[in-house]
Symmetry: C2
């Protein structure tokens, strides 16, 4: 259904029917439209539309606000934290920033998708006005809760490449790479907001991810630094075909994979189960370790403690112990078979 | 200085001078009076007083509110969380409860004591109107930050016995053990508030404590259950001399030491350093894992995950690996000396 005239597209309707039929369990295709219903209706005036009266499809609006609202909310949030915290009015100012409300509506949308795929075994179609901002947020947050592979470092790299880089998130425009117009209305911290949502999941499931928040923080730093080609330009075509970033720049993921130790989560225990983040207001927190790290009065000591190399390094300790066991095993074996002199490798 | 007449006590002044002189580094004895200054002044009308014009002593009021204010604040806090969370007004209601403001003033007071003892090498005297509520909160929170021994399970037991049980915190009256008068003005969750403050420290220093929040939650449950004699009655005299609780009841700490595994912190790395909790408003959090555990919509999945036996059990894993190494070492040794048949204990 597009425009005020309500034109229908038979091809589109058939396409959606085919998507539904691809899943034998699917009784009805759930369409999640990320926008507030009122915005979607207003967009009809500009020739836009949404799926009204499609056969075997139900449409839900997720009430997630657009890039302009997100930009303003983050400005208000950071002014609660930097350069100093107004201790007397902190909660009031945090409330008024509405930042956590936006985080909540995205997480609620992602949980809705997870529930429909995991519990109801239905297919879900997610879209928005364009498909490269809120849509990418929702699909990647749903996928990382559904599939444990995306919670490994390799899997996460693939998820970001797939849902953000290849799908056409306009990194260049949203961050304003190489642009002076800091008031440009196209700038918006959509990817930052996605990382915040993911941080909420990491925090609620401390042993489900191979990586810690350090990977998210490092990724956001490199997003703004432009050291790697991964997050340059506005689409994969411009990045790879027009600008040959794959030949002329290094990938952010090469750096990550070479410095895995820095990002390893010592609490990681791979689990197959699907995660359901709790989007309730009192389960959400402010990501001060990222937004307020320049304010020494805000940063919590636990952040430093985790960051400190060797501070909480269980993974390494375990590896050393396992190495020692292997060496001892070999010694025992060679002594039993008389193939080598007897030596004790541990002391 | 007591009463409106401002009577002085030479003995008290000498006593404080002696305390100061016991520390060769001490230039001036810091007296921390837990009360708001205005309350201390009002108490003069009832014959109370505080240390005005003592030689070589400086007096600071910590502005911590009394048992009645604490009781009302906790009622307001829990009504934000139970039976359901009003998602739209959560931050506003949390702000209005003032609970975190009270937590903040106690932590600020404790940090002041820690700073003066650790950094300034001065002596500190802490008191309040009576000495068994806010005083015990401050001294025990300062000691646990200053001395790593109190961060072990044994040390923590000694700290609670010393600063709360022996010092005369009126557990019976504050909790209302065996009393019907639930409106009794002497009831107040002072010990709960202390545990909340301690939880903030645990959370900010995830590897500094041998125990997890499970020990705090279990302690609070047993405080209300009266299963153990540890927290019965209003003083050590009534508990041990009048009621022989040491002969007729089991100590809570016997239970804890027999079930250490339940409370062990897998992240624990003993450290000698002094802790400084960050009392900034945005470093504080609501202890939903305790206050809201009866609300399934609030409880965060991470709580379950930590509680799950074997969920994140690094300590045990490490112990098993070390046992295996010891067994292999013995095998190698006995094979080398020819004192036993060669067997491999690992596979």
């Amino acid at each position: 259904m597009t425009g005020l005239a309500g034109k229908r597209s038979a091809d589109d309707e058939t396409h959606l029917l085919n998507i539904m039929n691809a899943n034998a369990n699917c009784r009805e295709l759930l369409i999640l439209d990320a926008r507030p219903a009122v915005n979607a209706k207003l967009n009809k005036a500009k020739g836009g539309g949404y799926e009204e009266n499609y056969t075997n499809a139900s449409l839900t609006f997720l009430n997630i606000h657009n890039i302009h609202v997100v930009r303003d909310a983050l400005k208000r949030l950071t002014s609660c934290l930097i350069p100093r915290v107004d201790e007397k009015n902190y909660l009031k100012a945090l409330d008024e920033s509405k930042w956590l409300n936006h985080i909540q509506s995205i997480l609620e949308g992602a949980v809705k998708a997870v529930f429909n795929v995991d519990t109801e075994k239905q297919s879900v179609l997610i879209h928005c006005s364009d498909g490269w901002d809120r849509t990418a947020q929702l699909t990647s947050l749903a996928m990382i809760q559904l599939d444990p592979f995306y919670r490994t470092i390799e899997g996460f790299a693939i998820l970001i490449e797939k849902e953000w880089c290849s799908f056409g998130h306009k990194f260049g425009e949203r961050i304003g790479h190489g642009e002076d117009g800091y008031n440009d209305g196209e700038r918006s911290p959509v990817f930052v907001q996605f990382c915040d949502c993911l941080w909420q999941i990491l925090r609620q499931f401390p042993s489900a991810f191979e990586f810690t928040q350090e990977l998210l923080i490092c990724m956001l730093d490199e997003l703004y630094s432009c050291r790697y080609g991964t997050f340059l330009f506005n689409s994969e075509k411009i990045r790879l075909m027009d600008n040959k970033c794959d030949e002329t720049t290094i990938s952010f993921w090469s750096y990550v994979l070479e410095h895995r130790k820095k990002f390893n989560n010592p609490m990681y225990r791979p689990k197959k189960k699907v995660l359901y983040v709790n989007p309730s207001f009192c389960a959400l927190q402010v990501w001060t370790d990222y937004y307020a790290r320049s304010n020494p009065h805000v940063i919590s000591p636990s952040h430093e403690e985790i960051q400190q190399p060797g501070g909480v390094d269980f993974l390494n300790e375990k590896k050393q112990l396992l190495d020692e066991i292997m060496a001892l095993d070999e010694t025992v074996h060679s002594m039993a078979t008389g193939s080598a002199p007897s030596t004790s490798s541990s002391s």
